[in-house]
């Protein structure tokens, strides 16, 4: 009987969701291991497993430690692994932030760069390179540029938010417009400074274009908590996001404190975006399209959409980065190019194959 089938489907829903997330995590782990195989240096799969195995305290003893050269070990553990993990973290962060922005703004064209995070980070980075170049190298080491970019991103978003405040409320259209205006403004300043940057221009442009060529373990350690904690906290608000997507008034009438929820979500996603941009530059497409792709398959319920988008974003970016690493000889393609080239046809395929009804 139809009604019973519906009821059954519905009550089993949470179990199905858990299964989906589990499977995606397993896929992610598999992709990470597979992509460790990709790269300039020829290292066999057995060697890779051996290198990984050596790190696990118990399995240490079962693996012949002499079979693996230290160069290969360094390459796998110091270069490839952190890079892949960074790709996962950045992909997850961008996708999750994209889901949040699309939900808050009720706009399918929103991604987390809307309120100026990318412009702010790029501009701050440009200024830092021009005016603090070698200074930074010596006194602050790794962290300086990342911190500057992160601060640039976050401060710009705060600026946009407080610019749009009217009394206690922040109307969405004002927020959007402020974001657009600030983006344009900062980009203009950016251009001026780029022209003044001389030789550093190549480096600046390359950084902004996005890439994982300079990832170290410190980068991974620093950004991972931002993304993980951010996504976990955001998960608490997914039900509210569902209702926000019906409209502010409706959400309020259903008991959602719209202003507070919006603030929190924007804060979290901006922090995530800032953290992520600070290590990988501005990578486009992921935050905009991955939520849509996931939504086409899984439906608009944010309780499942958020975690799945994050994992799909992670997998997607790892794969794209792997292609970027090896596509053209010793130098690399910018990852943003690969994300756009790879993602667009797949997205079009999904759009065309779209079903008219979702499973519960």
């Amino acid at each position: 009987m139809m009604t019973d089938k519906v009821k059954e489907k519905y009550s089993k829903r949470s179990k199905r969701w858990k299964l989906i997330v589990l499977l995606l995590i397993v896929t992610l782990v598999a992709v990470v291991i597979l992509c460790l195989n990709i790269g300039f240096a020829p290292i066999s799969f057995y060697d890779i497993l051996a290198i990984l195995g050596k790190q696990i305290p118990f399995l240490n003893h079962y693996i012949g430690s002499s079979s693996v050269s230290s160069i290969n070990e360094a390459i796998i553990l110091q270069i490839r692994l952190p890079r892949i993990l960074a790709g996962a973290i950045v992909g997850a962060g961008l996708a999750a932030a994209g889901v949040m922005y699309q939900g808050v703004f009720r706009n399918p064209m929103a991604d987390s760069y809307l309120l100026g995070a990318s412009a702010g980070a790029s501009f701050a980075y440009t200024l830092a390179v021009i005016y603090a170049g070698s200074l930074a190298l010596n006194f602050f080491g790794l962290g300086f540029f990342q911190i500057v970019a992160f601060l640039g991103a976050v401060l710009t978003v705060f600026l946009v938010y407080f610019m749009s405040r009217v009394g206690n409320k922040v109307p969405i259209t004002t927020l959007l417009l402020s974001g657009i205006v600030v983006n344009i403004f900062i980009l203009a300043l950016q251009t001026v400074f780029e022209l003044r940057s001389g030789k550093a221009l190549i480096g600046i442009v390359a950084w902004i274009a996005g890439g994982f060529s300079n990832i170290t373990w410190t980068n991974v350690y620093v950004v991972f908590p931002f993304v993980l904690i951010g996504i976990v906290i955001a998960y608490f608000f997914t039900k509210d996001l569902n209702m926000l997507s019906m409209g502010d008034d409706t959400a309020q009438h259903l008991g959602v404190n719209t202003e507070r929820v919006r603030q929190i979500l924007l804060l979290i996603s901006s922090l995530i975006t800032g953290a992520v941009v600070s290590i990988s530059g501005v990578i486009g497409f992921v935050g905009l399209i991955i939520p849509h792709m996931t939504r086409l398959v899984i439906g608009p319920d944010h309780r499942i959409l958020l975690p799945t988008s994050a994992i799909v974003g992670a997998i997607f970016l790892i794969l794209c980065d792997s292609v970027a690493r090896v596509a053209t000889g010793a130098s690399e393609l910018p990852v943003g190019v690969i994300t756009a080239l790879a993602g667009t046809p797949f997205f079009i395929y999904l759009l065309r194959k779209r079903k008219t009804s979702y499973s519960l």
Partner: protein, 450 residues
């Protein structure tokens, strides 16, 4: 006993008052219809109760607590709103949408329990939307969508239900179904329902009380019969309407008449001899043109008599079921003597009203300008074995002007009146032959000569 009381509420938009001095109380089981012209503050009132718009002054108390002191969630457990339109872009299933109504009752991390599902199912069954449970909301028709939204409101298990013009995009059957449903819920579950509605007839039929708003204030409030009167309607909507009780539905219904055109009073009296509904349109037209219309003799049960009451036209009336008495005939004569023009409609003549025709003939012979609307040939409406026809012929001989179509009347009458005015002002030209009604052969095709 749950009460919703609104005290001294005033809402402003900037410094403009869009709602002021609103005071009323609603009990449980009360179905209140909020009606009024556009811009009178209906939606504002609803917004202030639903906390979408904070009032500048005043308090709203629900069940002993000020609603503005409650948390969003707590209010949502007691009050549900059905907005006018729901534009839901994301393709949630109908079931998901209704399930959102359970949100105020669920804790942050709870997934929906079986109880929630049961409540949702019940709500959807009552709104006849359970069969749509699986379908994405953005594929449903307007009516189905609206019913789903109502189901969502029901799932909140509210004590107060607010609806903002919920019937706007619905067809007739859907409108009736929803009103039926809301009424049933109101009565059975003892809800407080406030609905902003444009359709006065539906309001009259389903609501137990009405709030009539005008110019940001409450114009009238109370039970339907008290508020929905043609006086009130005229005062608030500036529309002439007849309010009658339908014996079939046992509720009032409103029949709006055509719009009144403002016109200059002409200081010219026209008397109308009509009956059986033939005179209503003419009466209205002449009143619109600014004439002082009188009528008679009309039987009190006659439809035209109702119209005279509505349009406040002085009439000579006769008791129901009796023929015209001498007394009435005399009154009629006196009235006609004061009139400059007489109009006779295509009223059927029987022995009961034949004397009207006789009185008219006297007037014509006296020289009063008379128009007879001859739309239906006298033979077919003569129930006096030819006497009426004969009288008509004499009227014609005496100089009455016969018109085929009532629509030509106003023009002719206006022309006559203009001439009369002209003659009044201009002195007589010596040697000029005074206007005398020419005998018989005059028809409407020929030009009148002075």
């Amino acid at each position: 006993m749950v009460l919703l009381s609104v005290n001294g509420v005033e809402c402003r938009y900037g410094s403009v008052k869009i709602l002021e001095e609103v005071n009323f109380t609603v009990n449980e089981g009360d179905f209140v219809g909020i009606i009024g012209p556009n811009g009178s503050g209906k939606t504002t009132l609803l917004k202030s109760i639903s906390r979408t718009l904070k009032p500048y002054k005043g308090t709203i108390i629900l069940d002993k607590s000020d609603i503005y002191s409650l948390k969003s969630v707590d209010l949502a457990k007691q009050m549900a709103i059905v907005p006018q339109e729901s534009n839901i872009g994301f393709s949630f299933s109908a079931l998901d949408i209704v399930m959102m109504g359970r949100n105020p009752h669920m804790k942050r991390f709870q997934m929906e329990s079986d109880t929630d599902l049961t409540i949702v199912r019940k709500a959807m069954n009552r709104t006849n939307t359970w069969h749509l449970a699986d379908r994405p909301i953005n594929e449903l028709s307007g009516g189905e969508k609206q019913r789903v939204v109502i189901a969502r409101a029901l799932a909140q298990e509210p004590k107060v239900l607010l609806l903002d013009e919920p019937l706007t995009h619905l067809d007739m059957i859907n409108q009736l179904e929803i009103m039926d449903l809301v009424k049933e819920l109101c009565v059975k579950e003892r809800l407080i329902v406030l609905e902003v509605i444009h359709d006065l007839n539906l309001a009259a039929r389903y609501c137990s009380s009405i709030l009539l708003l005008k110019d940001a204030k409450i114009f009238a409030a109370g039970p339907v019969e008290n508020v929905l009167t043609s006086d009130n309607i005229k005062a608030v909507f500036n529309v002439d309407a007849i309010v009658k009780k339908s014996l079939v539905t046992n509720s009032l219904f409103v029949i709006p008449l055509t719009l009144q055109k403002p016109s200059m009073p002409r200081n010219c009296a026209i008397h109308l001899i009509a009956g059986a509904g033939t005179g209503t349109v003419v009466m209205k037209a002449l009143v619109d043109e600014g004439y002082e219309v009188t009528a008679g003799v009309l039987n009190m049960l006659d439809t035209d008599y109702e119209t005279t009451e509505l349009l406040k036209i002085p009439t000579v009336s006769e008791a129901p079921f009796s023929p015209i008495t001498e007394q009435s005939k005399k009154k009629l004569s006196e009235m006609i003597k004061k009139s400059a023009i007489i109009v006779v409609t295509s009223v059927p003549f029987g022995y009961g009203n034949l004397s009207n025709l006789e009185t008219a003939l006297e007037a014509v012979k006296r020289g009063t300008r008379t128009y007879v609307i001859d739309e239906v040939p006298i033979e077919s409406r003569d129930f006096t074995a030819g006497k009426a026809t004969a009288l008509m012929a004499e009227l014609k001989k005496a100089g009455a002007i016969f018109i085929k179509h009532p629509s030509e009347l106003p023009t002719l009458v206006n022309a006559t009146h203009a001439k009369m005015e002209l003659l009044k002002r201009q002195p007589e030209i010596p040697g000029h032959i005074k206007d005398k009604p020419k005998p018989i052969t005059q028809t409407i095709d020929q030009k009148e000569t002075i």
